[in-house]
Amino acid sequence: MKKSAIVCRCEDITEEEVLKAIEEGYTDLEELRKKLRIGMGPCQGRVCVQIVIKILEKKTGKKVSKISIPTSRPPIIPVPLGTLASDKDEK
């Protein structure tokens, strides 16, 4: 991977930015994500989180525990507010 490779496409975060944040001490997967907004894009991290875990593990030499891998939050695919606001099943 080149240094400037994009890790999180949705939020436009590069590998270099991830490495820099790890060097600054953000070695906890969740803190790293929150600092960089990784995984908060439309795909909810399905593209990037596994890559970030690999970078983190390589850089720190520590395994990221399975339990701390973030869950994706609903909705699984983006839905327009107008659809969500529709009255169909409520009086």
């Binding site: 439309p42 939050r73 606001a85």
Partner: protein
């Protein structure tokens, strides 16, 4: 892990981290124990709005002082907390609400705050995208120096600055018990070892009640689940946070372009369950698109839950418990703890280092709930 320290703070949210910074700066030996990661509690779920327009004088005063601190915080901590002061626009829906708003604005102005009362036709000058008819507003109040910051960056900035001053912050370290000798704090037991200390700060957010139970102290706090959602990114449309006490809604556009907001959940229950609900999404989408019709075609991206740690008067519980020396409360923020964190940590650090107390600290002690009349804060949303 250290075996001994001056102060143990339980909870690595924005308040725990800011207090750690204030204490470390004064040369106090301080440890933070956080059971997950920093900002994993309410802090990481919050809207991070900062508002000075309150209905009680005490909250208004505290918030004004907090904003002053926030304004220079990025420089002081050496990291950008992304403070944006786009103002808060509070919708007013009828004559009765307007009378209350006028009363509040007079009180706020007497404290030196710049705040305006807007007619319904002035609302769009501040937030052009609002449908004034749809939101059924007869007017609004607007304070241009209100705003919001990034809750993660604020917490991390405090934590990093605290570490530089010598504070030790242990994440993934759960406090399991608190030891006392002769009605004084003596030690804190964690999953990673015991730390001797004479002072414990209970900044565990919605879990503070459980921490207090470890030493047989009952706190009146109740957890209330709150939901919040974010849309996809949009080009900049407005800068103010829009809120309505009647509809309970609040929303703003974040720096990155997402619109983030919440509303009380219909048929909401007390308790610690975190499952998001569809009834929230529906209620929020309906109200939000009534306020801003052009959002109908915008996608909702994410939806999450957090907790308000609510007290009987919606004001925080601060200071030492009279029956247990060294046990200090810093909780019960009832949905506005982010904005109060700078001033609260200043007040508590003065108390912990010099025993310095103040009228405001006394008025927020938990013993206020013992048989006295309660001055309830009315201006709570979400």
């Amino acid at each position: 892990m250290k075996s001994k320290t001056d102060v143990v703070i339980i909870g690595g949210g924005v308040t725990g981290c800011s207090l750690a910074y204030m204490l470390a700066k004064k040369g106090i030996d301080v440890v933070v124990a956080e059971k997950n990661y920093l900002s994993s509690g309410a802090t990481g779920a919050c809207g991070a709005g900062i508002r000075q327009q309150w209905s009680t004088k005490e909250n208004t005063e505290l918030a004004i002082k907090s904003i002053k601190i926030f304004e220079s915080l990025s420089t002081k901590l050496g990291q950008d907390i992304e403070l944006r002061q786009g103002g808060y626009l509070i919708a007013v829906h009828d004559a009765k609400e307007m009378r209350q708003a006028e009363k509040n604005v007079n009180m706020q102005r007497s404290l030196g705050l710049k705040v305006d009362i807007l007619d319904s036709d002035e609302i769009n000058d501040v937030v052009p995208v609002l449908d004034v008819k749809g939101m059924a507003a007869v007017g609004a109040t607007f304070c241009p120096t209100d705003g919001h910051a990034n809750p993660f960056k604020t917490t991390f900035a405090y934590a990093n600055a605290a570490r530089k001053k010598g504070a030790e912050i242990y994440t993934h370290t759960k406090v399991t018990d608190i030891k006392t000798i002769n009605k004084k704090i003596s030690a804190v037991k964690t999953g990673k070892g015991i730390i001797k200390t004479n002072t414990v700060v209970n900044a565990a957010g919605v879990w503070s009640k459980k921490i207090a139970e470890m030493v047989d102290i009952k706190l009146p706090n109740v957890p209330f689940r709150k939901e919040i959602l974010a849309t996809e990114r949009l080009k900049p449309m407005f800068e103010a946070m829009v809120i309505s006490f009647k509809d309970g809604i609040y929303f703003s556009q974040q720096e990155e372009g997402h619109i983030v907001g919440g509303i009380p959940i219909p048929r909401e229950k007390k308790g610690y369950k975190t499952m998001p609900t569809f009834s929230f999404i529906q209620h929020m989408s309906k109200t939000l698109t009534r306020y801003v019709p052009q959002l109908k075609h915008i996608n909702m991206l994410r939806h999450w839950t957090g907790f308000y740690d609510v007290t009987p008067d919606a004001r925080p519980i601060l200071g030492e418990i009279k029956e247990l020396k060294g046990f200090i409360q810093c909780n019960g923020f009832s949905g506005h703890g982010f904005m109060l964190s700078p001033i609260v940590s200043q007040i508590l650090s003065d108390f912990i280092t010099d025993g310095k107390t103040s009228k405001i600290l006394e008025s927020l002690n938990v013993n206020r709930f013992k048989g006295k009349k309660i001055d309830h804060e009315m201006y709570v949303v979400g």
